[in-house]
């Protein structure tokens, strides 16, 4: 079966006066129908940039330099203008981090929902309003028939994010890109939103790209996980395997520095140093200057990659686990 989204060797370039920066480098992964793929990494790892490339929202001068993006078997990375606009909303829904800034404060939420539906679906105004109320009910907004005529400021943060999810799903897209959907929310509201996202996508068979820095959210929501570092995919696999038995030294260090994983220990595991700047990437594997397992050949170019979208860790000397085949 063709995956809903298939990214192959995606590279994003930003030309600047001081040379070309490469925030996303040779990234490949698939998302199957109904699957939630978690994309994790620290700030500047390129996880949001890859998501923006899929939906055609790269800010110039950033552009896709090479690689292919296929949605349901159709190539979409070269689409421009109106073709791309039709795709957005109709086939790809987007949920951003800040629910306040992703809604228009001057429009009633019902109008924002019907606008999206009328743009993408062949239905009447009254039918669209009916569907808008149904969509709000589905995301768990109490009294949807009345609240449909409220403005965004009349909702709390968690309720606003529900509206944004309703908005992303209202044209029945086959892929949702959720970029840090719960980062601005409290723990209890976060749990509600994650549960909602999981339920809706399972019911409709929507594929989800869940971009986050929170390992706990990934563990609970995702089926598979892609770990990014300095623009490159470092590890890809089933969420349980990657989180409990990471093969890439970076994933291993990241898990160790999570306070949750080191309960009762006096000190957290530290990865020395910081992520390299994009204009000063080291030769070979981008992680080797910080890596405890680095050897002489880690500086050789080209560095390790997962360019076929298969395999586990982009590393010349991955950790050895006996229990993982």
């Amino acid at each position: 079966m063709t995956p809903t989204l298939s990214i192959r060797n995606l590279t994003v370039d930003i030309p600047t006066r001081h040379g070309t920066l490469r925030p996303v480098q040779d990234v490949s992964y698939d998302i199957a129908q109904g699957e939630i793929l978690g994309v994790v990494g620290e700030s500047g790892a390129g996880k949001s940039m890859a998501g923006n490339a899929v939906i055609g929202l790269l800010n110039p001068p950033a552009h896709i330099a090479s690689g292919e993006i296929h949605l349901n078997g159709t190539r979409i990375d070269h689409l421009q203008g109106d073709d791309m606009r039709r795709l957005r909303g109709q086939q790809i829904g987007m949920v951003f981090q800040d629910p306040l800034t992703s809604l228009n404060p001057l429009l009633k939420i019902g109008d924002q929902l019907t606008e999206t539906m009328l743009a993408h679906l062949d239905i009447s105004q009254s039918e669209a309003r009916k569907r808008a109320i149904a969509a709000l009910e589905e995301v768990g907004i109490p009294g949807a028939a009345q609240r449909v005529d409220s403005y965004p400021h009349e909702f709390s943060g968690g309720m606003r994010q529900r509206v944004v999810i309703a908005l992303a799903l209202c044209a029945e897209p086959s892929l949702i890109i959720a970029d840090e959907p719960t980062t601005a929310l409290d723990v209890s509201v976060q749990a509600q939103i994650i549960a909602l996202l999981k339920r809706l996508c399972r019911d409709r068979g929507t594929a989800v790209m869940l971009i986050t820095h929170d390992m706990g959210v990934i563990a609970e929501a995702a089926d598979r996980v892609a770990v990014m570092y300095a623009g490159q995919l470092t590890e890809l696999g089933a969420v349980r395997d990657v989180l409990t038995a990471p093969l890439h030294p970076y994933t291993d260090g990241l898990m160790g520095s999570t306070p949750l994983a080191s309960r009762g220990k006096a000190r957290l595991h530290q990865i020395p140093g910081a992520m390299p700047r994009l204009d000063a990437l080291p030769d070979g594997c981008a992680f080797h200057p910080r890596c405890p397992r680095a050897q002489a050949d880690c500086v050789r170019n080209p560095g390790p990659t997962l360019s076929d979208g298969q395999g586990r860790a982009a590393c010349f000397h991955p950790l050895v686990r006996e229990d993982v085949a």
């Binding site: 620290e42 509201v189 509600q192 609970e220 989180l243 260090g253 990241l254």
Partner: protein
Amino acid sequence: MALVSVTNLTRIFDVSKPWLNRVIERKPKAMLTAVSDVSFDIEERTVYALVGESGSGKSTIGKMLVGLLAPSTGSVDIRGVDLARETDAAKIDDVRADIQMIFQDPFASLNPRWRVRDIIVEPVAARGGETRGLAERLLEQVGLAARDAGKFPHEFSGGQRQRICIARALASEPKLIVCDEPTSALDVSVQAQVLNLMSDLKDEFGLTYLFISHDLTVVQHMADKIGVLYLGRLVEEADPDTLFDTPKHPYTQMLLAAAPQLDGFGREVAPPTGEIPDPINPPPGCAYNPRCPLAADICRTTRPELRRVGNARVACHMVD
């Protein structure tokens, strides 16, 4: 004796509309109770953590502790001195020199026009202390280089900036540091570096921390004692092991269940219902009663007192 002793602390903000609007719209004054009758002690050389969701009043308590806000009623005693009521200027000055603060956003809390050296020595220079070589020494202690003293804040990453903030907080040799979400703006691996640094400095200088956070996992790692806040009220207080192994208050239980877990693969739990109520019109009785699965009639009429249950202090009618 405890270093910090907070007694029946309450802070009420007037969030009314302007006078004329109130007259025209016939609206009463609106009073927001951010902190309501909170009492706790912080022992010397320990880490006391306050956790809660947004609007729970944790930052307001931190600000009242350092004297940035005055309490409406109740008191904060630091080394036996109540900063809001003490009249002896010398005594106030003496205590204030013992308190410093680290803020959440390392990009907003450093003056972009000042060199790092000036930023760090400011707490000492303001009191006319000797500052020669101080910035360089502190920078090395927080894991930066002495030559960084001549740079400006924009030359540093978020984690490095938070180290500068820590160096500034250490400059006046304080006893108590109030840390308001010190690692919330940082990535996990940087957060680990900063938390380790804070632990090391605590042992080295004999510091006491009030650690304010919304992140249960960070609090669990750092704290000696944890206070859980809900709508400005302290609902439970216990040491980390007791709190995380046997949470007693229904709100704490809900919070722990809702927190994502690293081994929670495909976990299907019923997410918590409802949201934090409006602090201008809090529900009568226990603030948590509209969301509480155990709520009985008494919970809707009488506010529960914080009382000792085993190793913990809990404010709930239904716990025994």
